[in-house]
Amino acid sequence: MNNTGMSNAWHHSRRGRGHRHKEQGRPNRERTVEQKAEDSVPRGACMTMCPANELRQREAQNRLHRFEMLAGTERDRLPSADVSRAVKEYSRPAAGKDSTRATDLRPPSVLLKTVCYLVDDIAASSTFQPWTEVYSFVSDRLRSVRQDMIIQRASGPDCVAVLEKSVRFLLYASYRLCGQPLQYYDPRINDTHLQESLSWLLESYRDGKHRHQEEFQALSLLYNLGSTHALQHVLELPERIRSSPAVQLALAVSRAHSERNPVRLLRLAQKLDFIQVCAVHRHLLPCRRDLLLLYSHGHSSRNCRYPLQRLARLLSLKDPLAAELCRVCGVNVSGEWVSFSKSSFSEAASGDLQCRRTHEPVDDEQWNCPAGSVIHGCA
């Protein structure tokens, strides 16, 4: 794709500019390699969320998404496009396809406005149901936003803001849609996009000052709990960022994980805010199982019993759910008491308890954070 881009950009720079022929002589040769490279980087000129070409084409071919249709025309044979709600879709790069036309590319300022629209008006709105469809639409359009950024080799505060909101959206989605059937939500695909956006974001943080850096360094560490690579990266951060409360808490959680102290980990997890829980939640169920494993060995004795209620509190689960987790892991529960035995613990059926069921916190607090504020980060 890169080759096509380069040659087309070259075409662009010559088209309609006769004076270029004069420059073919000595002056052109004296321009540095860097300057020539700068000329060939595409610059977006499309000031709407969806380029006009694409809008016309998709409207004519009946390929508009439900959320992009003009109200009232959804049931028509050929629904009309709502220009204020249409968003450029992601399309795979292909040989012969020119992705670098300036009129099709949105500059970073427009990309940021697009992302804000996607988050405020689509993802955070309760009028669009089911949320799996919202996710599918928003994640695709965000992918297209990132693609525009890549083609333009964009950088700067607008891009950082775009990436930050994308990461928050994907983290939120990973929690809200956890356990949904594969055809509506694939955690592995979400993870790929998330890791890509995160590493791009962390790379962008290397230059200059960024207001939310501490928060996202912490989120990255929590999401990648257990990864030596992620941990080493955080340890090498400048003192100022490493000593921020968010990163310190993430480091403490990470330390509890590497010391294999699930009691401490689950206790620290209670101090995390909502988006941090979204980041770390997929590690919590394995951590709870690990607790049962360790206790099965440590408390393994025929005559001893452990109170279920206390165990449930350690696991930060409600009593019945804790009992079910025990049963699934081969830990014996009878009434209010648990008997641990190292021979009866078994990993075999532990996949039967879905992570999703462990999502509600024990205190019955309503996780009523409006999605919008979570994703924008101004909770």
Binding site: E259, V263, G298, H299, S300, S301, R305, P307
Partner: protein
């Protein structure tokens, strides 16, 4: 060929540094390209089946591998070392190369094993490197020791003060003392004090693993003090408080003990109802080297 490849790697390193100063290009790009070139040299050497053993190009393999190791460690792509290690381990010539080459090879293999948490093989490789490294190469011996020490400590062998002084590695002195005495407070302080050094060498995370050994040593002291095989959990809590570990409660103590039992550092079980740790009457704290 040795000279050319060595120069190539050094050039690549310099190119990297220059690019970094200018702030351009992807980190590791130049080194990766150098590695590609070295790999093609390697393939030529490895595929030389037709000449006799005296003239075989295969003698060049270990040197090349060492160069590649250096690059892979620098760009942090350790998984690429695996096929190279396999190639040497399956070769019949692996003990016939020069000692210098073998020392360097074992050093990197040992470091990779450390990274993969295979501490016994890491100890073997790094020990070999250390003992066979020439007496006059103090700098290299010190480098090897930086990685050998944490591994040995995890296996329960603490370095002597003279050793640390001889090789100018006093950063490990406090760590060693702390682990030996079961002094968590000193361990935490020592890790913080020399944090930058440990992080730069990439051993900070491994040294954190010494915490579990430190707990084990501390609890063993408690056991010796109380002289009973039914130890109240509270005693452990008190010992931790004495080490200024404030934010640990009885549940966390149980968890730490459960972990030690699971790992085989303590033989016994916890009775929650009696709030006691009941240890085996025979050898409840097996020696560290027999456990890992």
């Amino acid at each position: 060929m040795f000279a050319v490849t060595l120069d190539l790697r050094i050039f690549a390193n310099n190119a990297e540094q220059q690019l970094q100063v200018k702030g351009k290009g992807n980190v590791g790009h130049m080194l990766e390209k150098a590695a590609d070139q070295l790999m093609s040299c390697f393939r030529v050497c490895a595929n030389d089946n037709r000449t006799g053993i005296d003239d075989s190009k295969r003698w060049g393999m270990l040197f090349l591998i060492n160069q590649l190791f250096k690059i892979y460690f620098k760009i942090n792509k350790l998984h690429l070392c695996k096929p190279l290690i396999r190639a040497i381990e399956s070769s019949s010539m692996k003990d016939e190369y020069t000692t210098a080459q073998r020392v360097t090879y074992r050093y990197y293999v040992g470091r990779k094993a450390m990274f993969d948490s295979d501490f016994k093989p890491a100890e073997e490789c790094l020990s070999f490197s250390f003992t066979h490294c020439h007496r006059s190469c103090q700098r290299n011996k010190r480098l090897i020791l930086i990685y050998l020490l944490p591994v040995k400590m995890l296996l329960g062998h603490m370095p002597s003060h003279q050793l640390l002084k001889k090789y100018d590695l006093m950063q490990f002195a406090d760590v060693t003392k702390a682990v030996r005495e079961g002094n968590l407070l000193l361990l935490n302080e020592a890790l913080v004090k020399h944090e930058t050094f440990f992080i730069r060498c990439g051993i900070f995370l491994i040294l954190e693993k010494l915490k579990i050994i430190t707990y084990r040593n501390l609890f063993k002291k408690v056991y010796h003090l109380l002289r009973t095989h039914q130890l109240p959990l509270d005693a452990f809590l008190v010992s931790l408080r004495m080490m200024k570990v404030e934010d640990v409660d009885i549940d966390e103590v149980q968890c730490i003990l459960a972990n030690l039992i699971y790992m085989g550092h303590i033989k016994g079980y916890i009775s929650h109802q009696h709030q006691k740790l009941v240890v085996s009457k025979q050898n409840p704290f097996p020696p560290l080297s027999s456990v890992s």
